[in-house]
Amino acid sequence: MAVARRPLLSKTVKHLLLVPFLVFALFPFYHMTLTSLKQDRELYDRHAVPLVIKQGPTLEHYTKLIWETEFLTWTKNSLLVTALSTAISVVIGTIAAYAIARLKFFGVAAFGTGIFVTYLVPTSLLFLPLAQIVNWVGLGDSKWALVLTYPTFLVPFCTWLLIGYFRTVPKEIEECAMVDGATRLKALWSIVLPIAVPGLICAALFAFTLSWNEFIYALTFTSSSEQITASVGVTSELIRGDIYFWGSLMAGAVLGSVPIVILYVFFLDYYVSGLTQGAIK
């Protein structure tokens, strides 16, 4: 075994094999960032090398984006919608998951299956009737429509993820507390939830990411500049007719991703574990 005798060589080969995958994964982000920092004169020079900045970087696309468009409003809308729908969904999902994981009552199995089935329903199946419902309740072209509708895909996800976490908390701990006089709700609040904190963080992170990234509902239910989210604003308002401002467009794409990137850097391990948990369960 020639390879086993030279572990360093074999390890280097493995890393080299990973290079194409890493380039594929990261290049679009590199190119987006690069484009957003280039001066227009270099950006639209067909003889320039597109892979580097040679004529000096500039922040003019960012300043233009922030001062000459409604980008800050869109970001504020995104933050509001995302924070509220995440909070609502984690609370509703937590109590539902606890009931499904622990309690015996009429219809619990059917409800669990119902949650699983809705977890699989793609948003593009029901956006047309939901648009009508949103209009009927008077939330047409309002960001509040998104706060109302995002929980429809976040709650099944959070519930499903948390059922798995609650099942790993030993029943005996809770029963001890209840023997000592605590009610179920007290036991849930002071015993089970503290143990399930990693699960709750995971659910909140994924709910935040999913709602920040949501596009089809936001695009369909809102349209005016004061109500739209960052993804919709950047993809629709920055493109006027056939003239594209590629620098600002890429600056918008970069800045619109920043909140997720920040969370991602701090909570990478939660993303990895949540992804495998949520999918395999």
């Binding site: 890393h15 994964a25 990261l26 190119h31 509703i92 990137v261 990478l268």
Partner: protein
């Protein structure tokens, strides 16, 4: 249990009204339904009810801002006879089939590499997973720019490496290239999910199996085909089913990259449904297009419930 909780909380006399409610609430047949009520209301009012409306729309001539009449299955039949819809139907299968094949094969390769002992393990995983967490609509804008007809960095690189003849393909302007482009972006975005999930499956395979096989003289190739792949089957089944639904119903990538063009060659059910239902206002037809997604969804749910989830519970 010998000691009931209520005997301890209320040692003497009758409990007050608040205490009675608390006791009543503490019984599982009561507390359970109370806790699931918010979720249940949400699912009934904003999932089940819209679904019923979708069924009604699909069987009516609903038009934005106009009263509608019931017209039976006419929308479905009319769609089936239209070229645009047939093209979309075909696109959906081509798109899903090819994208899934790439995601499975590349996902297994990447997971096998990530499972090795690596330097900067955490950083590499972080980099691999990144396309999956960034908002798709925004990252697809980056791809849109990369496929631009005049300034495509993909073509520039291809020409520089001598793989393409100048000026290179007009990615989003020609039918087959446009399909290749949307598939590429879908694979790019979905690959992390496959790789990380398959990696979790790989880690769960007991090391002893490989040691025993190696002792019996099985080479790396044989170990992969006779140990790794068979034991990965459950994980592969789950993610393939899961990804089938979400690839088939994809909206963001096609909407941002091509809007379904050129000449409908990249339209998927979701993008066509939006174009017909919102842009032209024919809600009935739009809803009918979305509902063509339903048989596939029902099939995947059935398989998951019948075969896959059994192994977990």
């Amino acid at each position: 249990m010998a000691v009931r909780a209520d005997e301890l909380t209320v040692p003497r006399g009758r409990p007050g009204v608040v205490g009675q409610v608390r006791l009543w609430l503490d019984r599982e047949p009561v507390l359970g339904p109370v806790l699931v009520t918010p979720a249940l209301l949400l699912l009934v009012l904003l999932v089940a009810y819209p679904f019923v409306i979708a069924l009604y729309f699909a069987m009516s001539n609903a038009f934005i801002g106009r009263p509608s009449e019931f017209i039976g299955f006419r929308n479905f039949i009319k769609l089936w006879d239209s070229d645009v819809f047939r093209q979309t139907f075909q696109n959906a299968f081509v798109f899903t089939g090819i994208a899934l094949a790439f995601k499975i094969v590349l996902g297994i390769c990447l997971a096998l590499l990530l499972n090795e002992t690596l330097w900067f393990k955490r950083m590499i995983r972080g980099a691999v997973l990144l396309p999956w967490v960034i908002p798709t609509a925004l990252s697809t804008l980056g791809w849109w720019w990369m496929f631009n007809s005049l300034y495509s960095v993909v073509n520039w690189t291809g020409i520089a490496l001598g793989i393409m003849t100048p000026p290179g393909p007009n990615w989003l302007g020609q039918a087959y290239y446009a399909m290749a482009a949307v598939i590429t972006v879908n694979v790019w975005r979905g690959l992390p999910f496959f790789a990380i999930t398959i990696l979790a499956g790989l880690v769960a395979i007991p090391k002893e199996l490989y040691e025993a096989a190696e002792a019996d003289g099985a080479n790396a190739n044989a170990r992969f085909w006779y140990i790794t792949l068979p034991l990965l089957k459950p994980v592969l089944a789950v993610i393939t089913l899961f990804s089938t639904i979400f690839t088939f119903s994809d909206f963001n990538i096609v909407y941002v990259l091509t809007k379904g063009g050129p000449i409908n060659s990249t339209h998927l059910f979701a993008t066509l449904s939006r174009q017909i239902g919102i842009d032209t206002g024919r809600l009935g037809e739009g809803a009918a297009i979305s509902l063509y997604l339903f048989p596939l969804l029902a099939f995947v749910v059935w398989v998951q419930l019948r075969f896959v989830r059994k192994q977990v519970y």
